[in-house]
């Protein structure tokens, strides 16, 4: 076990990680934020969405200053209903990250599967898949996500819309990002398909599915990982944008984007902290994941640059 760790530590991958300050810093920042989101119920000083624990008198407390009525101190202040901004950010980040990861996973599974089929099987199915991808690529991802969100919302029964919003969001963002995965996997599969190990596997009588999943898939995972990281940053921003526009996470389950939407309303009345802190968190999160993705791309696949 120790040997395995030592070998991993000495690998090219870890070497370039240890020698890139940007990668180390953005990795630490991303990890801290992700852990904070996962552990939100334990870290958060308040449970912002339990109406019983809220005190309206605490509304609009400034950061780090005792509230003028109750004397309570909130690190990052409170919003109009007396919810602790720090706690809402932790819970909001939880939703943002959950939607981001789930959307990327969905896009990855869909894109890799379709890419493998298009690359390995080809034929009219492959042509059809890539034609659909081309058409979708004509439109910006965010527009596609909005449209799918709108259509999927139309299919959801009205009383379930708020509960289902998160899943609809994941579906919409995931569906808007599968194209990148499919294109890269298809390209890599076309290259791998001609190699000898694939021919050997075919001669051994393995089925097409087995060759795709067991032989080709492990060899095309490198670029998939790169796209997944970049796509995570895109998904987080897309989620925030949709929620900000009011076509994403509902106010009862606010993500960072929803919090920024709420905070924007207080910009003119001087309660800057309701807006600033969620916005800064979103920016830090997106930037950290983005830089990590850039670094990963340079290490794993210099050609993609």
């Amino acid at each position: 076990m120790r040997q395995a760790i030592a070998r991993a530590w000495a690998s090219d991958f870890m070497w370039s990680f240890r020698h890139s300050p940007v990668a180390i810093v953005s990795f630490i920042v991303a990890m801290v934020l992700i852990m904070a989101a996962i552990l939100a119920p334990f870290i958060a000083p308040h449970t912002p969405f339990d109406p019983g624990s809220l005190n309206l008198m605490n509304g609009f407390s400034s950061p780090m200053q005792p509230n003028q009525f109750t004397g309570e101190v909130f690190w990052l202040g409170t919003d109009d209903q007396g919810r602790d901004v720090f706690s809402t950010i932790l819970y909001g980040m939880r939703i943002s990250l959950f939607v981001g990861f789930a959307a990327v996973t969905f896009a990855m599974i869909l894109g890799v599967t379709l890419g493998l089929i298009a690359g390995y099987a080809g034929g009219w199915v492959g042509t059809l898949i890539m034609r659909v991808a081309d058409v979708q690529l004509t439109f910006p991802g965010i527009l596609v996500a909005m449209l799918i969100f709108g259509i999927a919302k139309g299919f959801t029964p009205i009383h379930l819309r708020d509960q289902m919003a998160i899943w609809v969001l994941i579906f919409a963002i995931g569906l808007s990002e599968w194209v990148q995965f499919a294109r890269v996997v298809r390209g890599a599969t076309l290259v791998e398909k001609g190699k000898e190990y694939v021919q050997a596997a075919r001669l051994c009588g393995r089925s097409g599915t087995a060759i795709m999943v067991r032989h080709i898939l492990p060899n095309v995972l490198g670029p998939v990982l790169v796209i997944a990281t970049i796509s995570l940053a895109l998904s987080i921003i897309a989620e925030a944008t949709l929620s900000f526009l009011g076509v994403g996470a509902p106010p009862t389950k606010p993500s960072l984007g929803t919090l920024i939407r709420i905070g924007q309303g207080y910009l003119f009345s001087g309660e800057w902290w309701i807006l600033l802190f969620p916005a800064a968190t979103l920016l830090t999160l997106a930037l950290a994941v983005n830089l990590l993705g850039d670094w990963l791309r340079d290490v794993l696949n210099p050609r993609l640059r």
Binding site: L143, M146, F268, A279
Partner: protein, 327 residues
Amino acid sequence: MLAFTIKRTFQSFIVLLVVGLVAFSMFRFVGDPVDNMLGQERTGADIERLRGVLGLDQPFPVQYFKFLKGAVQGNFGVSYRQGRPVSEIISERLPATLELAAVSAILAVGIGFALGVFVAIRRDGWVAHTIMTVSLVGVSLPTFLIGILLIYLFSVELNWLPSFGRGEVVMVGEWRTGFLTKSGLQALILPSITLGLYQMTLIMRLVRSEMLEVLRQDYIRFARARGLRDRSVYFRHALKNTLIPVITVTGLQLGSIIAFAIITETVFQWPGVGLLFINSIQFVDIPVMAAYLMLVSVMFVAINLIVDLLYFAIDPRLHVGRSGGTG
């Protein structure tokens, strides 16, 4: 050239047909149009009658064809929410979006291009370094945060510019323009910067990298060896050859401006079609969504087609490659 044009036009046509199918399916399958139009006290006979009137009892391809025919004539039915013809609502709001998009595009292309050339020529100066670093942040910043930031700075803190709306507008024929009044022009400043900033950084970075690439080529070295002045080398020899990829990407970016206008229009409550689209999603107003989808697709497909044809027309190497067969 002719074969290429015909093929590309045909492809664009297919894309539009597919998008039309999506838009039509939205009408047909998302919610029941009869349900939406009839009130609570309907009878089975009412439903049957309306189905007949709307043509919903006809086979799918016939309905699709009818929808396309309507769409070509600009007829998208009646908004569920506002109860007015969709075409009327859209044509009322389209000028706002087009004016915003045009100003942003001019800003993005003009400033982006100039800055790109500048940072390529003075690439080791501190000004160029600063611009490049700032642009990196600009690319990571989500559009809506840029908008909020600008509002905070120029509307809340400095109180120089309006934070929402179009200001006073003047009717020029059917076109409602904000270009002719002072408040209209003031209202245009912040939204157009917000919308143009991302495209501007993209264009700047692209121009820079293309320019650096070209400056490395032999003919630039020969031009310098001949003793040409810097200005002549940069602007007459180098710049021309950076234009081809820049035109392509810029053209495609113009399409994104229309799409990203949705975000900017929401931040600034700009009364254009983007804001209309967002509201239609919130209220699941299918006819408006379908019409917007068709409208945007036509613009996108047209832009893509023009860019492709332009690319072919500008770059002489493509002609040689085709007719000579040496590629």
